[in-house]
């Protein structure tokens, strides 16, 4: 057992961690991809993926209450030592890839709209630097710092969305069935991997007080993240329409550029840059911390801090690995979609199956003994 000490976290921390991890990709290309797949029914795609996340997250938390410790401890008890490492490595790679891809994609976006004269390497370096510092502070500070930023995020988003209302055309959502309800349901289930951040509650289970806190975190975190994405995607569709939205690389930025209050009071899109940075920095920091936690847990280390420089070098080199901005998008939408999808379905389902198998075995034993 690792001697790594976890700080105590509450309901708000849990919610914030899930919300940040689930909405961070929304500011990137995934919203465009959702519109490509489901046309006017993109909100339904997010609804399905949220419901799937909710079911899997709650199921995982529900079986976790029968064990002491975290996801890895439960895996060890149910499946044995080798699965402890398989699942540990799998989720560590998941959060590492999250960290790398988010670093590169947020850097590319920032380079597009803010840092136009600076080499992308410098922007990535800055992101990695902040990631290292945030990881040093720890998950508790990241979570509690994040909820102080929540009012800014809510205010900025609401402000932009309200200004967009005059551009709404409800017919943009038609044909009402999008690319077909059946198809969109399947796409929604397939894209639930984008919410794999919900697993964080199971990974950090010992930090949370009790089962209720963990279950509520999963419930409210998934619902808030899902509602945020559904509201934003519906606004994009109503204001911009399916055809144009499919071409956008930074949809939320372009949506904000349409907000117009007065000829002396405009250019609100720059506010969205702050929004990305807040969400991006927190998500990257949390992903980095969880990666290191899982590594420390597997290697039975008592502290993650010595690993921070190593992780920073790995993230920096892998983030600069992609040749251009489009190849990282292809990588994210291709390989990572499958990888994240597996993390949401395969391992939780194996764990559920094994848990109920063991439970049934015990029941049979009891009955035969009687």
């Amino acid at each position: 057992m690792s001697t790594l000490k976890l700080s105590r976290m509450g309901l708000t921390d849990g919610i914030i961690l899930i919300v940040f991890l689930s909405i961070s990709r929304f500011f990137l290309i995934t919203s465009t991809e959702a519109i490509k797949l489901s046309a006017g029914l993109a909100w339904y795609l997010y609804l399905i993926s949220t419901l799937v996340t909710l079911i899997i997250g709650l199921a995982l938390i529900n079986i976790l209450k029968n064990f002491e410790g975290d996801l890895l401890a439960m895996t060890e008890r149910l499946l044995g030592k080798s699965w402890f490492y398989i699942i540990g490595i799998y989720y560590a790679l998941l959060f590492l890839s999250n960290c790398t891809v988010l670093t590169r994609k947020f850097s590319e976006n920032i380079a597009q709209v803010g840092f136009r004269d600076i080499d992308i390497i410098v922007v990535i370096f800055l992101y990695v630097l902040i990631m290292s510092i945030s990881t040093y502070f720890g998950i508790e500070v990241l979570a509690r710092g994040a909820y102080l930023l929540i009012p800014f995020i809510i205010f900025l988003t609401a402000f932009i969305l309200v200004l967009i209302i005059p551009l709404f055309n409800v017919h943009n959502l038609a044909p009402w069935q999008g690319t077909g309800i059946g198809n969109v349901t399947l796409y929604g289930m397939a894209s639930a991997g984008a919410n794999s951040g919900v697993i964080i509650i199971a990974i950090l289970a010992p930090s949370f007080q009790d089962f209720i806190t963990k279950a509520k975190s999963v419930f409210y975190g998934s619902i808030i993240g899902g509602l945020y994405k559904m509201t934003c995607i519906t606004t994009i569709l109503l204001a911009i329409g399916v055809e144009r939205s499919k071409e956008m690389l930074i949809p939320f930025y372009e949506l904000a550029s349409l907000a117009y209050f007065d000829k002396s009071f405009q250019r609100f899109e720059d506010l969205t840059v702050f929004l990305w940075i807040f969400v991006g920095l927190i998500s990257i920091g949390v992903s980095a911390w969880v990666t290191l936690y899982l590594v420390a847990r597997m290697l039975k280390l008592s502290d993650i801090k010595p690993l921070i420089p190593l992780l920073s070098i790995i993230v920096f080199s892998t983030a600069t690995f992609a040749e251009n901005a489009l190849s990282i998008i292809d990588f994210d939408l291709g390989f990572l979609k499958i990888y994240h999808g597996l993390s949401m379905y395969v391992f939780p389902i194996i764990l559920l199956f094994m848990f109920y198998k063991q439970k049934l075995k015990l029941l049979f034993k009891k009955n035969s003994a009687v």
Binding site: A39, G40, I110, Q112, V113, G114, F115, R116, D117, I118, V123, L126, Y127, I130, I133, S134, F137, V141, L142, R144, G145, L148, L149, N169, H171, N172, A174, P175, W176, Q177, G178, T179, G180, I240, G241, V242, E243, R244, E247, E254, S257, L258, Y260, K263, Q266, R267, D270, V273, F274, I277, F278, L281, I282
Partner: protein, 426 residues
């Protein structure tokens, strides 16, 4: 214990400060330019050269002539500078512009992109596309097609009387389209959305250089064939440049135009207007005219049905008005007369509506966006993507009706009858 909690708060504060610091740094606030290091491009004009290549005119805002600085009598700075280039592409001329300017050209405040009709006929995608990919440009710049003359000429002739800066004139005019109503506000954002939508046609504001000062042959904007931009007879010390009418596109190519009167009907159907006045011949004394201030009572009722690949469109408008000017001195406040006037307005407005819709069918463009109402007729998006709205629209069966209800008589009531009495005593 207290020491630990104080330490935690300190760490959190450092963290928040760090996030905020990097939020400002990463958002590019450090690599901004001082306003004196920038040159703001206000208007871009695009013409077709003799060899078909674009001739691009940039109108540059001169910061030294800004109000406040320019109030100084000694300041003889021109309000703007106009530079014209010829290049193989639009982006080509952007480089040429950067090479001759002493400061960084900024496109963040481009108010309008103006095209000559000749260039627009060949398609404007080559200009719109780089504009949309460039983060500096904004989707709310206006699109104008010059009806008579070149874009360069239009920019040079733009000399407003009541606005200090010429590009402000275009911005103010376009913003006020819901009141001036004889053209529809057209932005790059809307143009490009419509270009891709398969549910409507792109359109632009029709601009023109007015050279017609012959008032003897003038008629009302709502009478006869109405006017296109640059053709409305007028005299006086006003801006020679005017915005009047709508330029219609098939995909990105200019294919026709709507008059001021037709453009007003388009605005009414789209719900893009606040208030307008309608003038019709007096039903009882046709040589005189009665005018009515009109507001849209409720959004247009539009239904689009598809039966065996044949589209049936029905447009219904309910307007509410106040009879404001009745020179015939007939008392239209009595219930019978008011009904007669309402019927006359209804008949007149319905005819104008159907005339405009027929014209757009003949041109082959749907500036209203009736195709958006047709999207719901498709089962799914794949089916919709295979359809071609404009060919369906050209062959559509269109019906329509405008109903006008007079709600009030303005601030006076039965005044005309009193006047009659005065006339009789005289």
């Amino acid at each position: 214990m207290k020491r630990i909690s104080k330490c935690n708060i300190f760490i959190k504060l450092i963290f928040i400060f760090m996030i905020l610091f990097f939020a400002f740094t990463l958002s590019g606030c450090n690599s901004d330019y001082d306003i004196t290091e920038l040159i703001h491009i206000a208007i871009i004009g695009v013409d077709k050269g003799e060899d078909g290549k674009p001739i691009i005119t940039y109108q540059i805002a001169n910061i030294k002539s800004a109000p406040g600085i320019a109030d100084n009598e000694e300041n003889k700075e021109p309000k703007l500078n106009i530079i014209t280039f010829r290049g193989n592409t639009f982006s080509d001329t952007l480089d040429a512009l950067s090479s001759i300017l002493p400061r960084m050209p900024s496109f963040a405040h481009v108010k309008a992109i103006i095209f000559s009709k000749e260039f627009a006929e060949d398609g404007i995608y080559s200009v719109i596309s780089p504009v949309l990919r460039h983060a500096d440009f904004r989707g709310n710049a206006y699109i104008i097609v010059v009806n008579n003359g070149t874009a360069e000429e239009f920019i040079k002739q733009n000399n407003p009387t009541f606005e200090y800066l010429p590009y402000r004139y275009i911005e103010s005019q376009a913003t006020l389209s819901k009141y001036s109503r004889y053209y529809s506000k057209a932005t790059i954002y809307e143009f490009y959305n419509r270009l891709n939508s398969n549910s409507s046609s792109s359109y632009a504001i029709l601009g023109g250089i007015n050279k017609n000062h012959d008032l003897n042959n003038a008629h009302s904007l709502q009478e006869g064939d109405s006017y296109y931009a640059g053709e409305m007879p007028r005299r006086g010390d006003t801006n020679p440049v005017e915005l009047l009418g709508t330029a219609l596109f098939y995909k990105d190519k200019y294919i026709g135009k709507l008059t001021a009167e037709d453009s007003m009907i388009v605005s009414v159907i789209k719900g893009d207007f606040r208030k307008t006045s309608v003038v019709i011949p007096d039903p009882n004394e046709p040589e005189l005219y009665v005018s009515c201030i009109v507001v849209l009572k409720r959004p247009a009722t539009i239904s689009v049905k598809m039966e065996n690949d044949k589209v049936k469109i029905n447009v219904e408008l309910l307007l509410e008005g106040e009879a404001i000017n009745t020179p015939s001195k007939i008392n239209y406040d009595t219930p019978e007369n008011r009904r007669q006037l309402e019927e006359a307005f209804t008949e007149h407005m319905t005819a104008r509506l159907l005339k405009m819709l027929k014209k757009t069918q003949e041109i082959g463009a749907d500036p209203i966006g009736l195709g958006y109402y047709n999207r719901a007729n498709y089962k799914n998006y794949q089916e919709f993507a295979k359809s071609d709205w404009i060919s369906l629209y050209k062959n559509a069966e269109i019906t329509g009706k405008t109903v006008l209800k007079i709600r009030s008589s303005g601030l006076s009531w039965n005044k005309t009858e009193e006047k009659n009495e005065v006339d009789k005593t005289e």
